[in-house]
């Protein structure tokens, strides 16, 4: 019992391996990443570990980041496009503590960007890596819940079911009613789930200069898109893929053609639309751009409690 009590007290802070994971786990994940890169869009099964954060909260992305991360990396973590959302803060703090790496909120300063639900507005560069947190990696899951079946479909590139689903949307609604996690086809072969990013971000994945890695911890899958890889959003000739359009610019920085969050101002229908990518917004404001609600201080006041 004494020895056991010791282990309980010894495992305090600062006693973890670099980036938390043990070396054997990192090797296993690294091998999976290499295979994922070699077969773009294919979901490589891996023995996902229990992480000190809940499944569904980014454990896949965290394991991928922990396995690629080196001492000289500069890490950026975003959730909903923002560096300041609670889960992004928590994951960033996790790596600051376990790997002592430099972190940043600036998209262009980061070597690794871990994200949930968004791709930054600024085009990523050749030497950057973006790591997506993925809840349900299987794009066919909601059409066919069985892994044994979906695996066969991927093996045979049998994706008719997906097209049927999209076409049913068109028949019922007049257009495809999928707005996020919009399925893509990678390098003309595998149909892939881009993670629950809005379809607005899909075109950014196509021929991206940066390497894209996807980690699904609970579902135990890793997949990848190498740089400069064709990524097409599924569509039909007569119903081509379209992204969301906002009929106004960001109220704070005036940016157009970016994804906007709707902020409800009161209960009488008052609302404003602002950049979802907070770094992009801040950079524009620093450069002197203003929107219709201009004159807002750069360092925002704290409202969260």
């Amino acid at each position: 019992m004494n020895a056991q009590a010791d282990t309980a007290t010894q495992a305090g802070e600062g006693e973890y391996n670099f980036a938390y994971l043990d070396e054997q786990t990192k090797r296993m994940i690294r091998r999976a990443i290499l295979k994922a890169i070699a077969v773009p869009g294919y979901q490589v099964p891996f023995a996902s570990r229990e992480m000190p954060m809940p499944y569904g909260w980014g454990t896949g992305g965290v394991q991928v980041t922990a396995s690629i991360l080196g001492r000289d990396d500069v890490l950026k973590v975003i959730d909903q496009g923002s560096d300041d959302t609670t889960n992004a803060v928590s994951i960033r703090a996790f790596f600051e503590k376990t790997a002592q790496v430099a972190t940043t909120t600036r998209t262009d300063e980061a070597t690794i960007i871990q994200t949930r639900h968004r791709i930054p507005e600024k085009a990523l560069k050749e030497d950057q890596i973006i790591v997506y947190q993925v809840p349900i990696p299987e794009p066919l899951r909601f059409l066919e819940p069985r892994e044994t079946e979906t695996r066969k479909m991927h093996a045979l590139a049998e994706y008719g079911l997906m097209h049927v689903k999209l076409y049913e949307d068109i028949a019922r609604h007049g257009h495809i009613a999928t707005t996020y996690a919009y399925p893509v086809k990678v390098d003309g072969r595998y149909v892939m789930d881009p993670s629950p990013t809005p379809k607005f971000d899909n075109p950014k994945m196509h021929e991206m200069d940066a390497l894209q890695l996807f980690g699904a911890g609970r579902e135990k899958r890793i997949y990848a898109i190498p740089p400069h890889t064709a990524v097409e959003s599924l569509d039909f000739e007569d119903y081509p893929f379209e992204i969301q359009k906002f009929d106004r610019p960001c109220a704070i920085c005036g940016a157009e053609n970016v994804y906007l969050d709707e902020v409800v101002l009161d209960d009488r229908g008052g609302r404003m639309f602002v950049c979802s990518d907070t770094d992009h917004c801040e950079e524009r404001r620093a450069a002197g751009h203003t929107g219709e609600a201009g004159g807002i201080p750069l360092k925002g006041e704290e409202t969260a409690r």
Binding site: M1, S48, Y55, T86, V89, H117, P198, R218, E262, R305
Partner: protein, 373 residues
């Protein structure tokens, strides 16, 4: 005026401080010690060890204390700790026939070698709140009479049936007894899964989930005609084969509960009529879990035994993919995370669809009016 939502870091820190404060509760009430939890909340400790997949009472007690008594949270803490531990290898199979038995009952025989041994059980207690326990520093219960530990090993009921060939063998014919056992903490689950992997999954699985599934088989959703052949609780030796030494060395003793269900099987062209098995094993005292596990194990063998499938408890992919409460709680609770980017996308779509719907309606109405005129 709009102010950017910032300060997540500070909010999180503060929330954690508040949590620590609430966990401790009223400072006038004495702090719980781990020993108290180990001794007096032993069944909670057992469940956390079983589903946390780590046999360590002190750590389980610590996890329960830290989790404010939330057992799934405690199981999660143990799992996250366990995964960081170095692995030296796999122990030899436990020999439960050599168990130092503290409780052993069989529902299939009135009496049997080794006898029925009631042991510490809630069975046959009247579920009346005992207000004596509410009184602080109440009198300690009287010391029970303990029999001398039996010298002889206690044969398992299934072994007795096995001698007669009335129950299927432990290891199906043609399979090697010591073939490699899978480990789903090292290899991701794939389907179809072997019985080794299924049993590991069930042993780690949520007690409530398995209880409900086991219950469903009793109510006809994948009926297995079970008899509780034997339930035994006690201590068994764990041995580790040291390659350098060339023999197995004992590592210590652990408490386990084992349940062997005996189920009917009609026989087939290949096998004569005989009973079939369902197996459950958990750390510590956990009869409900061990029994549920045995029922579900048997139900999951329906394909192998050529039975008609289709009930939830017989659906391997459904059961194994949803049994883990750490995974389940994480994904259910992840709905608390912000989803406003996706919600925005849906909001825009619903607004667009409503516009289209209203336009269509207006047009239809106008057309109808026109036709009427």
């Amino acid at each position: 005026m709009y102010v950017a939502v910032k300060g997540g870091e500070k909010a999180i820190r503060n929330a954690h401080r508040l949590l620590a404060h609430e966990r401790r509760g009223d400072r006038a009430v004495p702090d719980l010690t781990l020993a108290q939890i180990v001794e007096q909340m032993a069944l909670s400790v057992a469940r956390v060890m079983a589903e946390g997949s780590l046999y360590d009472m002190e750590l389980a007690a610590l996890a329960i204390k830290q989790a404010r008594g939330d057992l799934i949270e405690a199981i999660f803490l143990i799992r996250a700790y366990r995964t960081t531990l170095p692995r030296f290898g796999y122990s030899e199979p436990l020999d439960t026939a050599k168990m130092r038995v503290r409780r052993r009952i069989s529902a299939t025989y009135k009496d049997l070698p080794g006898g029925q041994l009631l042991g510490p059980t809630f069975d046959y207690t009247h579920r009346l709140l005992d207000f004596k326990l509410a009184a602080e520093g109440g009198e300690a219960p009287g010391t029970p009479e303990l029999a001398e530990a039996a010298e002889e090993d206690m044969p398992r009921v299934t072994d007795l049936l096995g001698h007669e060939g009335l129950i299927e063998p432990d290891v199906p014919e043609g399979e090697i007894e010591d073939s490699e056992t899978g480990d789903l903490t090292r290899e991701p689950l794939s389907f179809p899964a072997g019985r080794d992997i299924r049993l590991q999954n069930l042993a780690r699985g949520d007690e409530g989930f398995l209880l409900a599934l086991g219950y469903s088989t009793q109510r006809g959703f994948g009926r297995t005609h079970p008899f509780a052949g034997e339930i035994r609780l006690g201590e068994v030796e764990v041995e580790f084969f040291a390659e350098e030494l060339g023999f197995a060395v004992p590592l210590g003793r652990i408490s386990v509960t084992e349940c062997q269900m005996i189920n009917q099987f009609q026989g087939s062209a290949k096998a004569p009529p005989q009973f079939s098995r369902g197996y459950g094993l958990v750390f510590g005292q956990g009869e409900r879990k061990a029994m549920s596990m045995a029922l579900v194990d048997r139900a999951l063998r329906s394909r192998e035994l050529g039975e008609e499938g289709g009930a939830p408890a017989q659906d391997e992919e459904f059961v194994l993919s949803h049994s883990d409460n750490v995974q389940a709680t994480g994904f259910v609770e992840h709905l608390k995370l912000p989803h406003y980017v996706d919600f925005q996308a849906e909001l825009a779509l619903v607004r667009q669809m409503r516009r289209e719907w209203e336009e269509r309606n207006r047009k239809d109405k106008a057309d109808a009016q026109e036709a009427a005129e």
